[in-house]
C-alpha cells in the first residue's frame, strides 16, 4: 500500500493534495473517535489522563445492562423506529399517488411545495409549534379546543400515554413531504403506456393503482425500507430531545438510545455508562446496516449501498 502510494505520488500528487482537507477531516471527526470506542472498556475519572485510566473489561456494559434503562431505551428506539418506517412508507406513497391523480397540476405543485415546508424547519421550531398546542396553561388544545367543549385541560408534558402518539404524528408531519416528493418523482417516471393499455382494457383507477403503480414502486419501497431498517438503532435526536421539552416524567416513553447517551454523558457525567451505550449502538447498528445491505444486494444489485 505504502509503496503503491510512493510510486504514484509523483504522478498523482495533485489528487492527494485535493483530498487532503477531506482526509484530515475524516480522520479527526470520524476515525479518531472510532478508536475512542475503547473508552467503553476503561474506568474513566476526570483527575487521571485518559491513557492512564485502568482497563475494566466489560464492567461498564454490565452496569448498563443491569439497569432497567438499557431495556427501556432499546425498546423505545426499536418500537418508535419501526412505527416510523411503516408510517414513512404508507402515508407518503398515498400522498404521492393522490398528488399524481389531481387534475389541476398547478394545485398539485402548490400542495407539494407546502407539504415540504415542515422538513425545512428545525426541531426547535417544531417544538415551539407543538408547545403552541400542548402548553398546559395556555395551549391551543387545552384552552380553545377542550375548554370550548367543556372538558378539562390535560398536562400534556406530564402524561406518558399520549407521547407514543404525539411523537409519530410530529415525525410524520415533518417528513411526509420529503418522502412524498421522492415517491412522486418515481411515479412521474413510469411509462404512460402501461396506464393507456390498462384504460383500454377497462381498468378502473383503483385497479390501475393496485396493478401498475404499486408493483412498479415496489423496488423503491423495499430499498427505502431496508435502508431505514439498517438505521433502526439510531434516532432523530432532535425529535426526542426537543419536542418533549426534556420532561423527566416522560423519559420512560421518550428516552431513546441517542438521548440516553447524551444525558448520561453531558448531564450526569458518567463516561463509562455513556460510552458503553454508544458502543452498543454503533456495534448493533453496524451489523444491521451490513445485514440490510446484503438483503438489498440480493434484490437489486445497483440499489445497494455497497
Amino acid at each position: 500500500m505504502a509503496r503503491a502510494i510512493a510510486k504514484n505520488v509523483r504522478k498523482f500528487w495533485v489528487f492527494y493534495l485535493m483530498m487532503l482537507p477531506g482526509v484530515v477531516f475524516l480522520i479527526v471527526n470520524n476515525y479518531i473517535p472510532m478508536l475512542g470506542v475503547l473508552i467503553a472498556f476503561k474506568k474513566v475519572t476526570y483527575n487521571i489522563p485518559l491513557w492512564e485510566t485502568p482497563w475494566v473489561g466489560l464492567q461498564n456494559f454490565k452496569y448498563l445492562f443491569m439497569t432497567n434503562d438499557a431495556w427501556i431505551i432499546t425498546r423505545n428506539t426499536l418500537l418508535y423506529n419501526t412505527l416510523f418506517i411503516v408510517l414513512n412508507l404508507f402515508i407518503p406513497i398515498a400522498f404521492a399517488i393522490m398528488l399524481n391523480e389531481m387534475r389541476n397540476k398547478f394545485f398539485s405543485k402548490v400542495h407539494q411545495a407546502i407539504m415540504f415546508l415542515p422538513y425545512f424547519l428545525s426541531m426547535v421550531v417544531v417544538s415551539y409549534l407543538v408547545y403552541g398546542f400542548l402548553n398546559e396553561t395556555n395551549g391551543f388544545i387545552n384552552r380553545t379546543v377542550l375548554e370550548g367543549m367543556g372538558l378539562e385541560g390535560v398536562s400534556w408534558y406530564f402524561e406518558r400515554e399520549v407521547w407514543p402518539f404525539i411523537l409519530p404524528l410530529v415525525n410524520t408531519w415533518k417528513n411526509v413531504g420529503y418522502y412524498a416528493v421522492i415517491y412522486f418523482a418515481a411515479i412521474m417516471g413510469f411509462d404512460e403506456e402501461y396506464y393507456e393499455a390498462a384504460t383500454i382494457d377497462g381498468a378502473s383507477k383503483w385497479q390501475q393503482i393496485k396493478s401498475i403503480t404499486i408493483p412498479m414502486l415496489a423496488p423503491l419501497m423495499i430499498i427505502m425500507t431496508l435502508l431505514q431498517i439498517g438505521r433502526i438503532f439510531y434516532s432523530d435526536f432532535g425529535l426526542f430531545f426537543q419536542v418533549p421539552r426534556e420532561s423527566g416524567v416522560l423519559f420512560p416513553v421518550t428516552n431513546v438510545i441517542d438521548t440516553y447517551v447524551y444525558r448520561t454523558f453531558l448531564n450526569l457525567g458518567d463516561i463509562g455508562l455513556s460510552s458503553a451505550a454508544g458502543l452498543y449502538q454503533s456495534a448493533v447498528g453496524f451489523i444491521l446496516v451490513l445485514l440490510s445491505n446484503w438483503i438489498v444486494r440480493r434484490i437489486d444489485k445497483d440499489k445497494a449501498l455497497f
Binding site: 489528487f15 485535493m18 473517535p33 472510532m34 473508552i39 421550531v125 412521474m188 411509462d191
Partner: protein, 310 residues
C-alpha cells in the same frame, strides 16, 4: 419510451380520476396544507397578542388585540439577538463555502478512473456512514484534542463533510463530465488543478448548488453543536437561543438587560414572557420561511436527482 410528463393543465382526458375523486383529493390536500401552515400562523398570532389576553384566554388563532410589546421588548435586548444572528450567519456562510469546496475536492479524484487509490479512498469515506465511535470520543476529540469548547469553529467543523453528498457529487462528475473534455484539456497542457477549477466546477453548478443548499439548511438549523460545545453567551446560534427560550420561560426575563435596567431604576416591569417567547420563535423562523419559496424548487430538484441516481 413515453413517460408521464406533468404538464400544468389537464392530463390524458380518458384516464382521469372521477370528478368526485378529484374533489375528495383536493379537499384532503387543502386540509393537509392548512395543517402545515396553521401551526406557524398560531405562533405568529400569539407573538402579536397582548400578554394579558394570552394569560387570561390562552393561545388563540385570532388575537383579541394586536400588541407589539413582545417585539419591542426583544428589540431592546437586541445585543444578544444580533450576536446570535451574527454567529449563525457567519457559521452558515463560511461552513457552506468550505463544505462544498472540500467535498468537491475530495469527490473529484474519486471520479477519475485513472486514479489507482480510488477504491481505497471511496471506502475510507464511505465506511464513516456505517460505523461511528459514538458521542463520547467525538466530544472528547473536539474539546480535549482540538480545544474548541466555546469556539465558533466548533459550530463549523463537525458539519463540513457529508459522505452522502460526496458520493452524489462524485457520481455527478462521473456521469456528466465527458472524458473527451478532460482529455482535450490535458492535450492542451492543462494541469489537474486547472482542469478541476476551470472546467469541472463550472460544469457542475447544479450538483454544487444542491450540496450548498442542503449544507446551508443544515448549518442554519443547527442547535446541537451549540448545545454540546458552547457555554458562553457570545457564541450561541440563534436556534439554540430559541431552544433555551422555550425551555425556560424566565430565560428571556433573566437575561434581559432592558428589564434589569428598568428594575434597577426602581420601575416595575412585567416581562411579556409568553408573547416574547413566541416573538423569539418568529424571529428565528423568519428567514427560513422567507427564503423557502425561492429555494423549495431547487431542493426538490436536487433531492429527486440525487435519490434516483445516488
Amino acid at each position: 419510451m413515453k413517460t408521464a410528463v406533468s404538464k400544468s393543465g389537464v392530463s390524458n382526458p380518458f384516464n382521469q380520476v372521477s370528478k368526485l375523486g378529484n374533489t375528495i383529493i383536493n379537499a384532503f390536500f387543502l386540509f393537509y396544507s392548512l395543517c402545515c401552515i396553521v401551526p406557524l400562523i398560531l405562533i405568529i398570532m400569539i407573538s402579536i397578542s397582548n400578554e394579558q389576553d394570552v394569560l387570561v384566554h390562552g393561545y388563540s388563532l385570532i388575537p383579541r388585540s394586536v400588541d407589539w410589546a413582545a417585539y419591542e421588548m426583544l428589540m431592546k435586548d437586541w445585543v444578544q439577538l444580533l450576536r446570535s444572528y451574527g454567529v449563525t450567519v457567519f457559521v452558515t456562510v463560511v461552513g457552506t463555502v468550505l463544505s462544498v469546496i472540500i467535498m468537491a475536492l475530495y469527490a473529484y479524484p474519486l471520479s477519475r478512473e485513472d486514479f489507482p487509490q480510488r477504491k481505497f479512498f471511496t471506502f475510507f469515506m464511505f465506511f464513516t456512514m456505517l460505523f461511528n465511535g459514538g458521542l463520547v470520543p467525538w466530544y472528547l476529540v473536539y474539546t480535549q484534542m482540538l480545544d474548541l469548547k466555546n469556539n465558533i469553529w466548533a459550530l463549523i467543523l463537525p458539519l463540513l463533510v457529508s459522505a452522502f453528498f460526496v458520493l452524489i457529487i462524485r457520481t455527478f462528475f462521473q456521469t456528466t463530465i465527458p472524458q473527451q473534455v478532460l482529455e482535450s484539456a490535458k492535450i492542451d497542457g492543462a494541469g489537474e488543478m486547472r482542469i478541476f477549477f476551470q472546467i469541472v466546477m463550472p460544469l457542475s453548478l447544479p450538483v454544487l448548488a444542491t450540496a450548498a443548499l442542503f449544507s446551508t439548511l443544515n448549518y442554519w438549523n443547527d442547535w446541537y453543536l451549540s448545545l454540546v460545545f458552547i457555554s458562553d453567551d457570545k457564541t450561541l446560534s440563534i436556534q439554540y437561543l430559541m431552544y433555551k427560550t422555550l425551555l425556560n420561560i424566565q430565560y428571556l426575563a433573566n437575561n434581559s438587560t432592558a428589564a434589569s435596567a428598568i428594575a434597577a431604576a426602581g420601575g416595575n416591569v412585567t416581562y411579556p414572557n409568553e408573547t416574547a417567547r413566541m416573538a423569539m420563535a418568529v424571529i428565528g423562523i423568519g428567514p427560513i420561511v422567507f427564503a423557502y419559496p425561492f429555494f423549495q424548487k431547487y431542493f426538490v430538484k436536487g433531492l429527486t436527482v440525487g435519490a434516483v441516481k445516488g
